[in-house]
Point group: C2
Chain length 429, copies 2
Amino acid sequence: MDYYKRSAVSTVPNASALRIGIIGLSAGKGWAVKTHYPSILQLSSQFQLTALYDKNIQTALDTIQKLKLSNATAFPTLEGFAASTNVDMIVISIQAAYHFDVLLPLLEYSKKNPNLKYLFVEWALGRSVEEAETIYKAAADRGLQTIISLQGRKSPYIYRAKELVSQGYIGDINSIEVSANGGWYGYERPLKSPSYIYEFGNGVDLITTTFGHTIDMLQFVTSSYFSKINAMVFNNIPEQELIGDHGVRTGKKAKKTAPDHLLFQGSLINGNVPVSCHFKGGKPTKKFTKNFIIDIHGTKGDIKLEGDAGFAEISNLVLYYSGIRANDLPIANGYEVYDSSKEITEVYHLKNYNAVVGNIFRLYQSIADFHFNTKQIPNFPTQFIMQGFSFQGFPTLMDALILQRLIDNVHRSSISGVTMDVTNISNFP
Amino acid sequence: MDYYKRSAVSTVPNASALRIGIIGLSAGKGWAVKTHYPSILQLSSQFQLTALYDKNIQTALDTIQKLKLSNATAFPTLEGFAASTNVDMIVISIQAAYHFDVLLPLLEYSKKNPNLKYLFVEWALGRSVEEAETIYKAAADRGLQTIISLQGRKSPYIYRAKELVSQGYIGDINSIEVSANGGWYGYERPLKSPSYIYEFGNGVDLITTTFGHTIDMLQFVTSSYFSKINAMVFNNIPEQELIGDHGVRTGKKAKKTAPDHLLFQGSLINGNVPVSCHFKGGKPTKKFTKNFIIDIHGTKGDIKLEGDAGFAEISNLVLYYSGIRANDLPIANGYEVYDSSKEITEVYHLKNYNAVVGNIFRLYQSIADFHFNTKQIPNFPTQFIMQGFSFQGFPTLMDALILQRLIDNVHRSSISGVTMDVTNISNFP
């Protein structure tokens, strides 16, 4: 089948839907009800919510009632939830800081559910590379196919950029510049904003989130990991002013230990391409620059991706392309002859694309494609594989672990002042 | 006097003009006749060409005749030229690769000329930090006031940016991004282009020229040196295709050892400001980006400098400013109250400004200002001083040496893979 296009199979599956048990879905608030829930709802022939875990069972029962999840059961214990045979796929949509404590027992208990095939975890995978390694290994030992919400790979703009690059529309990549503004790590913060996102080490900050998602998208587009990197992490704003509702100044301040700036530079393994990245917190200054820019310069053309926030994985973007496709120029005496009629320009923008839901929705589509196709593959791999840089499929805990290793090297480089060789971080034994 | 404005003194000096002996001026071709000569000509009440050195005396005589330099004498020996008492200022406009071999004997011979006060040398000062140190020391021992052509400091756009920063128009600087394209270090080069600019180690390349001038301007604007830096130097294009006249392909290739990319990141001493710089060679790709960009983000506003080439010291630029001047907002309950009427926008562009001549011309103006003012200062300093970050004056060999030390650290960082502490490179014993 042509993996570049949506498959016909997934939209009309000839089998029963994948049964989902979810942790972190609440009808009242949060990320899951805004993203996972509408995605599952729109793919109701492929996915069905059958189990919810919440140690406060009333929360789970309320969610079932409010969202009319008529096929779902509420579980007050992790053990009961994990052991339920009415679940094919578990979705974890909780803070990264709790991943380790929840996932390890969950994976152990889940051995009682022979139907369980998939584990879907939110990025970041744990709080550190050590936690990520342990979680990854436990999931691999349990024999689950994993999914990580590095959903930027599913952004239509990222996908299109990857197509242009892989099909030779910009020739060889020559250099790359990235600039992103993660606005909230600045001089002020809302009084009601949870403090954990301003504390370093919770798996959600400028490095893990803004940088992590962005660099994952960049590697995906270029189909290359890095060979060497240098990073400088800054916390130049150790105290933030607390702002009340309607912008009222409270006169109070709060400590910030999370970084507000990251300088990152390095070279890609493929082509030794120089890449420089500037990730800033602080006030978004949109006067003369966009808050998200990726410039990819090639020998035959350029791609520019632009967005309004340093969170491209949940942003609507614009893609600009201009260039001449490799091998499209006529050859005379062994040389390409420039022909302006071969020059192409493309501006790609989906005006009403809701990237917050849309990219997660496309991730669920990929899972459905994978599941309803692989059922027909006789030699289904016993060892599940990572996505790497394939167009098809979805990012897995292996992809997440590679990214956590890169982030770990970012901090090591910043602390030690040494340029790190990261050529081998994508290797698995 | 107000050094921010042009002084009245310099335009009508009450003394005889400074007598200039020059090396490297040729009526036929080259940099000096396009820049030094018209600058001197336009300031004829302050400067007069009185001596030319060329070991081929006919070249010097031809130049005197063609340019109608009626007061100038041609010298065939460096010794005679250096000893001529009819010279107050020596201008060296030759390749940096020859600085060391010319300047050391010149300075020695010049002891026979008690009138000599000024030595003006083209950037870069020599081929390496070691040569620069030696030349600087010899000039200092000789007691000369030196001038280096880091003329970007005289660009009206750089000057205006420095004014805006120093007068609080962008508050505190928060972060800086620099991107420049030194077009010619690319996949092709003109057949008739001299090969020395593609060979590493001649004091004229992407690092010395594009980076050197640009980072000097940036330090000048921010009034800060760097505390730490990391750099990665690339030569990804080791062979260039030779292009004949009218773009004819010759089918020949030539070796390139000079770098084609530099990634540079670091923090300023003042405010620990993160700075990221991307200097690329290769094909200029102006589709979606300018070939020269400096973005300075502050807590109260932003400055953007844009140009068409990665050689801002010889380019006409555009300056964009938007922000609120520090202390311009009304205060209530101890807090600034936002008032949109205080927000200012400025676009500064001199449509017909010829930056190639103009910035050198302004450098000569500064020398005249200095000379015709200092003559009236009773306690003229016996030890001449460097410009540093003063608005007034002109960059000196001390400023050049600090820059050569930074460039040396760029190479050391790239080779060793270590982030360098450069806090002390601006110190002199």
